[in-house]
């Protein structure tokens, strides 16, 4: 079996991840921070350690400004619905995932101005962001890397631009946290939404929102409820992380996430990036040599994460994905990848594309084996 669906959820996980989760449940699975007894304190420490690891990985100055959520989608909703009010203007791009597009569509119906910048060939021009700024612009929100083409957005340039204009900058790091260096301070990023179950190698049900100094105190919470602190008041606390963390956290998931983060930290993001870059180059090169294969997105591997989508002439993407699985046990994802506007931009709507997405555990021989099958499929389509 060859697993090429890491952009949906990474698999396998490092052994330390299920081990940490089992250990948490067996040895300290109490409510983190509710009770003050030893087990509750131990559970609280596990959660705090995960905050520290997230903050270190993403260049955030304060671990208490990491608010855990159940995934990147929830984090993006917390950021977008928490920050934007009728009359505000927000800039985004057509390459975004539905976890950005749908909350923005919802807000637009309630009086928020939304500019969705086109991205010819999937690439965003930072100058277009500058031109779209109006006096009411409150926020720019962009995906760091596209989950369709893998293409990197010009985060550095946009961050600088937004900071100079006093506009908050939110990055959807679902496809980049763990496999691309991120430094919120150096990159002028005010909010990062991350997910735990992709390149951080944690379990599903984990993710979070990191708030830089400028974003703190500006979000209306989505949920209100118990936080373990300030129990003498029936008003939601205004300090982090409690303000954005109503209800018992997924502490067992966060224990697993901490182990995933430790794996990334130990291997280093740079080494994981090098590994994935080499595999991506090999995959792109191989696909280019297959007649009838059309690759979406940038030609250079250096301008993408380890995500490569393609189509074979004369075949639907779902046929190709089914054949890949049936012939060779290759698991990938075909379709629109929750990014309808990106596929429209790329001319692949509504058909979609086949997506191979790689991770730290994939190997060059898996790439070669998959390319072999893709080549066979392209030949059989020609013969048909």
């Amino acid at each position: 079996m060859i697993y090429f669906d890491n952009a949906a959820t990474s698999w396998p996980k490092p052994d330390a991840v299920p081990e940490a989760m089992a250990r948490f449940l067996r040895e300290c699975g109490a409510n983190p921070g509710r009770s003050g007894h030893a087990l509750s304190i131990q559970a609280g420490r596990v959660v705090y350690e995960a905050r520290e690891r997230v903050a270190r990985l993403l260049g955030l100055d304060d671990p208490l400004s990491v608010a855990f959520t159940k995934n990147a989608t929830e984090a993006l909703n917390v950021a977008l619905l928490g920050l934007l009010a009728p009359g505000d203007h927000v800039i985004t791009s057509v390459m975004e995932h539905n976890s950005v597009l749908r909350p923005l569509r919802h807000l637009e119906e309630r009086g928020v101005g939304v500019t969705r910048l086109p991205c010819p060939e999937g690439a965003l021009d930072p100058a277009a962001v500058a031109r779209a700024i109006t006096p009411g612009t409150r926020l720019v929100v962009l995906g760091h890397a596209s989950n369709v083409t893998g293409a990197l957005a010009p985060i550095g340039e946009v961050g600088e631009l937004a900071r100079a204009r006093g506009i908050l900058f939110c990055v959807d790091a679902a496809q980049s946290a763990g496999c691309l260096p991120i430094d919120m301070g150096a990159m002028n990023i005010d909010l990062v939404a991350f997910t735990g179950h992709k390149a951080l190698y944690g379990p599903q049900g984990t993710g979070g929102l990191c708030l830089g100094e400028r974003a703190r105190g500006k979000l209306r919470p989505l949920l209100r409820g118990g936080t373990g602190s300030a129990s003498d008041s029936d008003t939601q606390p205004d300090f982090l992380p409690d303000a954005l963390e109503a209800g018992t956290l997924n502490a067992v998931g966060i224990a697993g996430l901490a182990a995933g983060l430790a794996f990334v930290e130990e291997r280093t993001v740079e080494a994981i990036r090098r590994h994935e870059l080499a595999l991506t180059e090999r995959l792109l090169e191989g696909l280019r040599s297959i007649p009838g294969a059309r690759i979406l997105g940038p030609g250079a591997a250096a301008r993408r994460v380890a995500v490569v989508s393609f189509n074979l002439e004369g075949q639907s993407c779902s046929e190709v994905a089914t054949a890949l699985e049936e012939r060779a046990g290759i698991y990938c994802r075909a379709g629109l990848h929750c990014a309808p506007l990106a596929h429209r931009q790329l001319g692949t709507f509504p058909e979609g594309a086949v997506r191979f997405s790689l991770g730290a555990f994939n190997t060059a021989s898996q790439i070669d084996a998959a390319l072999e099958v893709v080549r066979e499929l392209s030949v059989s389509a020609k013969g048909a």
């Binding site: 983190p32 921070g33 509710r34 009770s35 003050g36 007894h37 304190i41 609280g44 420490r45 959660v47 705090y48 905050r51 304060d62 671990p63 208490l64 936080t227 373990g228 602190s229 300030a230 129990s231 003498d232 606390p237 300090f239 982090l240 992380p241 409690d242």
Partner: protein
């Protein structure tokens, strides 16, 4: 997590957030200052979270070491 001597008079550091108390715990552990996380005594506050019990004699050092604003330190009071 060193416990204090039973004879020593204690103080407690109060925080607005449970997670900040855990952050403070790591700082004091790093500085080898005796401390223990305990549930907030009801006679001090009705907050249901944790506080850090310290030796009263260490309170000035603790005040210096903990960034009060960032950690939301609500006070250091005798136990």
């Amino acid at each position: 997590m060193s416990s204090c001597d039973a004879e020593t008079p204690y103080g407690v550091v109060l925080f607005r957030s449970v997670q900040a108390a855990l952050a403070a715990e790591k700082i004091l552990a790093g500085e080898k200052i005796a401390h223990k996380l305990i549930a907030v005594p009801r006679h001090i506050s009705s907050n249901c979270g944790f506080c850090l019990r310290i030796q009263w004699a260490d309170r000035e050092a603790v005040e210096r070491l903990l960034p009060a604003e960032k950690l939301g330190v609500e006070g250091i009071v005798p136990l």
